[in-house]
């Protein structure tokens, strides 16, 4: 059902864990649909994501998309991280089963939520970043 890449990221998740005193942290999803993702960011003065960690409650695809999303934003600038879409996460994982596409949306949303928190703490505005929606059901309907 899952690609080899998905299984690899599920079995060996990259950047799993927490960051003490993160520059930004965001949690998205809900327990009702069974997926919750939390993303921690450590951003340096130049606006580069020095470190990123995640924690996920969810299925194999939820874990794998979180893991891949952290890989895709690590070392990137905040602006570049904002360009990491759910499609990019899916492509990097060699695709997902149709019923699991919402996991990739959640991963994108988790990055946005962490960036939003970072911007709030810094008192800055990140161009193109909208306040994240916590409930993935609402996102899926857009």
């Amino acid at each position: 059902m899952y690609s080899e890449k998905v299984m690899d990221h599920f079995n060996n998740p990259r950047n799993m864990g927490e960051i003490e005193n993160p520059s930004g942290v965001g949690t998205v999803g809900n327990a009702k649909c069974g997926d919750i993702m939390r993303m921690y960011l450590d951003v340096d003065e130049a606006g580069v994501i020095r470190d990123v960690k995640f924690k996920t409650f969810g299925c194999g695809a939820a874990v794998a998309t979180s893991s891949m999303a952290t890989e895709l934003v690590k070392g990137k600038t905040v602006q570049e991280a904002l360009q990491v879409t759910n499609k990019a996460v899916m492509e990097a994982l060699d695709g997902l089963p149709p019923v699991k596409v919402h996991c990739s949306l959640l991963a994108e949303e988790a990055i946005h939520a962490a960036l939003w928190d970072y911007a709030k703490k810094q008192g800055i505005t990140i161009e193109g970043l909208k306040e994240p929606v916590a409930d993935i059901d609402e996102i899926a309907e857009v």
């Binding site: 998740p13 327990a31 009702k32 069974g34 969810g58 299925c59």
Partner: protein, 392 residues
């Protein structure tokens, strides 16, 4: 991966060697259509008759009250729909429970769209319906009560005899989906006042694709499948002779071994339940502690999600199942777990392990060790667990 440990016997069982050997001649030797006139067909017909006697004997029924079908889902569909439609002049109200198999629930929903009314009885935290609530739900226009004998997810065994007694005191037909119970717990259609009973071959070491509907003699039922005079004109289609023979053999063996098998399974089940509850914190057992199928253990591990758990068990060669939404492609977790009052996030972390007569204590030890490691790993990854630990 080591040897496979199969703990999903509520999903299906392995056909037993005896059953397979009895079936084989009916594929290439005695392959005649039992409805034909020539004497060659008579041998197949005779084999079907023996299977019918065996299927009936297991529940104290008469052979002519057994109708062979293609399985449990067909039997459930047929029973609920045909009783309701056959008695529509008398009333259009059905009583069932919230934890039935979808073969019953979706048939009820089908009938609701066609003007029937359905009462879905609540269950308590252990998955038990209340006979008092059942009595209260009965109306003058109630024509059918359909309550399963034992639940396929959490294993709770319903007070079938009591339900039957209530139904018959009010002159209402009683159907029970006994797919998980038939051959596993003693059932007697007379003593338990059962009018219709569904069962399936592959849950008791028989073949897939064959089941029965027991229909009490005085119940008149229209066919669901039209097109032939088979099964006394009530179920068309050339008889699945090898399957039916397999069903009969499985039923006979299940009857002979039931007591011993249940005792062995119960001991193993309780060993598994006790170890898991003692050694993995924040875990609950679902279903009734005593009134449960001898082969069923069903847990919820807090802070983790079922599909991840199943994948990691599978990588260690262990086959289980989950009522997690992610395993079904739906967003909501199992209707059974929600009906017993579990919140979504706990229902998502469910695991069903169902034993067979062949499982060993060593296999369960390996399973418990794997579970400890996997649950720990997934909790380390879980933001829900992180929040819980922070608050504690």
């Amino acid at each position: 991966m080591g040897e496979r440990i199969y703990l999903d016997n509520a999903a299906t069982t392995k056909v037993s060697e005896e059953v397979l050997q009895e079936m084989l001649p009916y594929f290439r030797e005695t392959y005649a259509n039992p409805s034909a006139i020539y004497s060659f067909a008579g041998e197949a017909k005779k084999a079907v008759g023996i299977a019918r006697e065996r299927a009936a004997a297991l529940i104290g029924a008469k052979p002519n009250e057994i109708y062979f079908t293609a399985g449990g889902s067909e039997s459930d569909n047929w029973a609920v729909r045909a009783v309701a439609e056959g008695l529509s002049d008398k009333g259009r109200h059905i009583i069932t429970s919230k934890i039935e198999h979808h073969a019953v629930l979706h048939t009820c929903e089908y009938l609701e769209k066609r003007g029937y009314e359905v009462t879905y009885l609540d269950v308590d935290g252990e998955g038990m319906i209340s006979p008092a609530a059942l009595e209260k739900a009965i109306r003058p226009d109630t024509v059918l009560i359909s309550v399963m004998a034992a639940n396929n997810e959490i294993g709770t065994i319903q007070p079938v005899a009591k339900i039957g007694e209530i139904a018959h005191a009010r002159g209402i037909f009683f159907h029970t989906d006994a797919v998980q119970a038939y051959g596993h717990v003693p059932l007697n259609v007379g003593e338990m006042h059962i009018d219709l009973l569904s069962a399936s071959g592959h849950k008791l070491y028989g073949p897939k694709g064959v089941g029965i509907l027991y229909i009490r003699e005085n119940v008149r039922l229209q066919p669901l499948i039209h097109g032939g005079a088979q099964e006394r004109g009530r179920r068309a289609g050339t008889l699945n002779v090898p399957g039916i023979v397999g069903f009969g053999t499985a039923a006979a063996l299940a009857g002979e071994t039931m007591q011993e098998r249940a005792a062995r399974e119960t001991a193993l089940r309780d060993y598994l339940i006790d170890r898991v509850l003692a050694e993995i914190p924040y875990t609950r057992l679902n279903g009734h502690r005593q009134e449960r199928l001898s082969n069923n253990a069903h847990f919820c591990f807090r802070f983790i999600e079922g599909e991840s758990l199943l994948i990691l068990l599978d990588q260690r060669g262990i086959c289980g199942s989950s009522g997690s939404a992610c395993t079904s492609g739906a967003l909501d977790p199992s209707h059974v777990l929600l009906a017993i009052g579990l919140p979504h996030e706990i229902a998502h972390g469910s695991l069903r392990l169902t034993l067979s007569a062949e499982n060993t204590r060593e296999e369960l030890d390996r399973t418990v060790e794997a579970l400890k490691e996997i649950v720990g790993r997934l909790r380390d990854m879980s933001p829900l667990y992180e929040d819980f630990v922070r608050k504690a």
